[in-house]
């Protein structure tokens, strides 16, 4: 029993898992609507976008960086895909019109996210701009371009096929959950089973030592920000599809929710420690908390307060544990 207790207290993942379990238990006792199939799918669908962003954020944070731009990239990529799928692309200089199906529009959206993330990585590695500043700049730039692109108006009526991504079901599971699950599985393999993943942890653990061991730290960092951008685009497409509308204000402050999920999941903001699964659990905890408080008719203002307290509590417990060791 003692060894089990010791083991549990040493694992950040178990800690979040226990917290999640207790939370679910309490909520199911307080509200009979909580533990229903419909509500569980509802929660998972709601958290899927945040988890996509959190997975990218985890990779960035593991290298001791931060990405504040994911919310804005989400909005821009959603808007780009929506425009392409509903209007196509008119190239006036060549007198050319290119039509897009849903799939190709999505691909372009993800490519745009990748490029914006790559640009973040480029400014950070090439010009040594601190990640906080570089991605803060991108937060503003991408939001501005979104406004220019849409003229500040939503883009609606994207078609049934496009809407399937956000609202459809496949084999009894909502599409956003499928997409997020695939993203999570790939990210777990990437971080735990590939040299690239090992490099990410090494850079966060000791950048100098990693570099002197022959790790191409610039390449790894660029990749990490590019992936974060691409996953923000995936999130953007899910959001746009679910609403059947690209909103210029989509994804506002989503970066903060992603950071919150990463932190609650036990990933250290100073890099090198943490995991993708931690961020997934962190995202689900936030989602369950929000859902439960709604079911209990708690004011949305209180939800924010509670979320903040949970973040603080998670980090305080982590720090206390680090001191014990």
């Amino acid at each position: 029993m003692i060894t089990l207790k010791k083991h549990l207290s040493y694992s950040a993942k178990f800690q979040s898992l226990i917290a999640l379990f207790v939370l679910c238990l309490v909520l199911s006792l307080l509200s009979e609507n909580f533990l229903t199939t419909a509500n569980v799918w509802n929660i998972l669908r709601q958290v899927s976008v945040n988890i996509c962003l959190s997975v990218g954020m985890t990779l960035v944070v593991l290298t001791a960086g931060i990405d504040l731009s994911v919310g804005s990239i989400l909005a821009l990529c959603g808007a780009v895909s929506a425009t392409l799928v509903s209007y196509g692309l008119e190239l006036e200089i060549f007198n050319l019109f290119v039509g897009f199906g849903p799939l190709s529009a999505i691909m372009v959206g993800i490519a745009v996210g990748w490029c914006l993330g790559w640009f973040n990585g480029w400014t950070i590695t090439r010009f040594k701009v601190p990640p906080f500043v570089a991605t803060l700049a991108m937060l503003t730039i991408a939001r501005g371009i979104t406004m220019l692109w849409t003229g500040g108006f939503p883009i609606n009526n994207l078609g049934k096929e496009f809407a399937y991504i956000g609202t459809g079901w496949f084999l009894g599971i909502p599409m956003p959950v499928w997409i997020t699950a695939i993203v999570v599985i790939i990210a777990v393999i990437l971080t735990k089973k590939t040299p690239f993943g090992r490099h990410i942890y090494a850079i966060g653990g000791n950048e100098r030592a990693a570099r002197l061991s022959g790790v191409n730290i610039y390449k790894v960092k660029m990749m990490v920000y590019a992936i974060a951008g691409a996953l923000a685009a995936v999130g953007g497409i899910i959001v746009t599809s679910r609403l059947d509308s690209a909103q210029p204000n989509a994804g506002l402050t989503y970066e903060l929710d992603a950071i919150a999920a990463v932190v609650i999941g036990g990933t250290s903001l100073s890099g090198g420690k943490g995991s993708v699964m931690g961020a997934v659990l962190g995202g689900i905890i936030i989602g369950v908390l929000n859902n439960g408080l709604v079911l209990l008719n708690v004011s949305p203002f209180w939800q924010q307060v509670v979320k903040g307290l949970v973040i603080l509590l998670a980090v305080i417990i982590d720090k206390a544990k680090a001191r014990e060791e």
Binding site: T194, R198, A202, N206, A209, L212, G214, K273
Partner: protein, 513 residues
């Protein structure tokens, strides 16, 4: 105050770090009006002793008496208030603040309203600067000053506290000849005022100019003290060397047939000082199967030479590097590795290891392609690699999953060696590989180095410890101030004096003026 009265008396100071006795029963006294030189090789215990005297280290055995009163400084502020000031080798100024703000940092004079009294601060600073013969405005920000001027500001700051004991650690390492003259004038004035000066410098000829007494330390022990005029430079060198020999030298044979590495006119610019070089026209060769020692005092440029060869600072260098007769430009550590080089860096914790990783992950970090197939890491290969090196290098740990942070220094160093042996290098560069580890681990590392060289590697062995250089190396290069000053074949007859002599920098630097 009467001259030659002891201001500070140190009795039986012992300081232990985990596994090492840095100071062993040191006693000495510092008299007013006298400058005392503290002499010793790197690691002799000079810095540790000075850090205790100035309150940086507050845990030690033994007693310190300040004017016959027993004191135990808890921190530098306490030592300063008593009257002991230290001028560190590294500059501790804040670049964006002005001279006067730096000089009075933390004890700014206030007006009756509680705001900083800038006019008074400026006036006092100007007075101090005048004494230093430094003609600059007290409002000049530090970053606009030359390094030499910054050093003088550092001294100004120390003097503004009006200390009785002034410790100077290598004060002339970054300043020009003229500034050295000014500094010596100031030291003379201070002595006339009855202050006690402690002067640490590798430049022995300076000591004869400015100090009266000397104390020699070796391996943390007190060796000798006396009047500086009663001795000579050669005698001092003789007293500094002679550490305990740890392993006996076997007869090595190295047939210099195949040249692995040839360095021609390699220079590295100093970013901090204009027209100054950290490495200046370095030329040497390394042969297959050879262990080449590289000796030099602190700041001689040994680490920089290793780092340049390993692909750092590639934009600031000039000269040519040939590997097996082929001219190569090494642009990054990855580049260097691909060409068969390996570097075990000087600071294993900062540069050598990811401390939060376990042994397995640290060992395979250089060779992840070896332990993966089809782009995925193979856990078994990964573990096997670590296990193999844990056995062959005798790394003591419960399992390959042990986090390296918890290992002893010697075992940590072996993990660093393991990750580089795993790359199967042809040229192995070891920068102070035995620093801070116990004697058994040292001996094991010497044996490993010899074994690797017999297997055909070329090894560059950087060390501050002459006995180990004499015991392990076939040949030794000596560096001083960024240059190679001697190239000595090591035989049983080679003496430590001969090597150390070449490592002592000289005051005259015509080409840098």
């Amino acid at each position: 105050m009467k001259v030659n009265e002891p201001i500070l008396r140190v009795e039986n100071i012992t300081k232990e770090f985990p596994g090492v006795k840095a100071l062993n029963e040191i006693s000495l006294q510092l008299e007013g009006g006298v400058a005392t030189a503290i002499i010793g090789e790197n690691g002799a215990g000079k810095s540790t002793l000075m850090k205790i005297l100035s309150g940086v280290y507050n845990i030690y055995e033994g007693e310190i008496y300040y004017k016959n009163e027993l004191v135990h400084f808890q921190n530098t502020t306490e030592a300063q208030q008593k009257g002991v000031a230290i001028i560190h080798q590294e500059l501790n100024l804040i670049p964006n603040l002005t001279i006067s703000e730096n000089v009075f940092l933390g004890r700014e004079p206030l007006t009756s309203l509680g705001i900083i009294d800038y006019p008074l601060m400026r006036k006092n600073t100007a007075k101090l600067l005048e004494r230093m013969k430094l003609q600059v405005d007290p409002d000049t920000p530090i970053f606009k000053l030359k390094v030499g001027e910054q050093q003088l500001v550092e001294i100004t700051k120390a003097l503004s506290l009006n200390p009785e004991v002034i410790i100077m650690d290598e004060p002339t390492s970054a300043i020009s000849e003229n500034e050295v003259e000014v500094l010596f004038e100031i030291i003379k004035d201070l002595k006339a005022e009855g202050k006690a000066i402690v002067y640490i410098s590798h430049k022995l000829d300076e000591l004869f100019k400015i100090t009266e007494k000397y104390v020699v330390l070796r391996d943390g022990k007190f060796i000798e003290s006396g009047e500086i005029n009663a001795t000579t430079e050669d005698e001092l060198i003789h007293k500094m060397v002679g550490r305990e020999i740890i392993i006996s030298r076997e007869s090595f044979q190295c047939n210099k047939k195949e040249c692995l590495l040839s360095v021609k006119n390699l220079s590295l610019k100093n970013l901090l000082v204009r027209d100054n070089y950290l490495l200046k026209e370095v030329n040497f060769e390394l042969f297959k199967g050879e262990v080449l020692g590289l000796f030099g005092l602190m700041g001689a440029g040994r680490t920089e030479l290793m780092e340049v060869l390993f692909g750092l600072y590639s934009s600031r260098i000039s000269g040519e590097v040939y590997i097996k007769g082929q001219l190569h430009q090494i642009k990054s550590p990855r580049d260097a590795m691909d060409k068969g080089l390996a570097l075990v860096p000087e600071n294993r914790k900062e540069d050598g290891l990811v401390l939060g990783f376990n042994i397995t992950k640290n060992t395979s970090l250089t060779v992840l392609d070896q332990v993966s197939s089809a782009g995925f890491l193979r856990k078994k290969k990964d573990n096997d690699l670590a296990t193999k090196y844990m056995e062959s290098l005798k790394i003591k740990a419960s399992s390959p999953n042990q986090i390296v942070e918890k290992l002893s220094g010697g075992n940590q160093q072996k993990v660093v060696l393991a990750k580089w042996f795993a790359t199967h290098p042809e040229i192995l560069m070891l920068d102070e590989p035995t620093r801070g580890i116990d004697i058994n681990a040292k001996n094991e590392i010497y044996k490993l180095v010899r074994k690797q060289s017999q297997n055909g590697l070329g090894v560059i062995f950087v060390s501050s410890e002459l006995p180990e250089i004499l015991a392990v190396c076939d040949r030794v290069l000596v560096m001083a101030e960024g240059r190679i000053t001697a190239n000595i074949e090591v035989t049983k007859e080679t003496s430590e004096n001969q090597i150390l002599k070449a490592a002592i920098p000289k005051i005259i630097k015509n080409d840098n003026a």
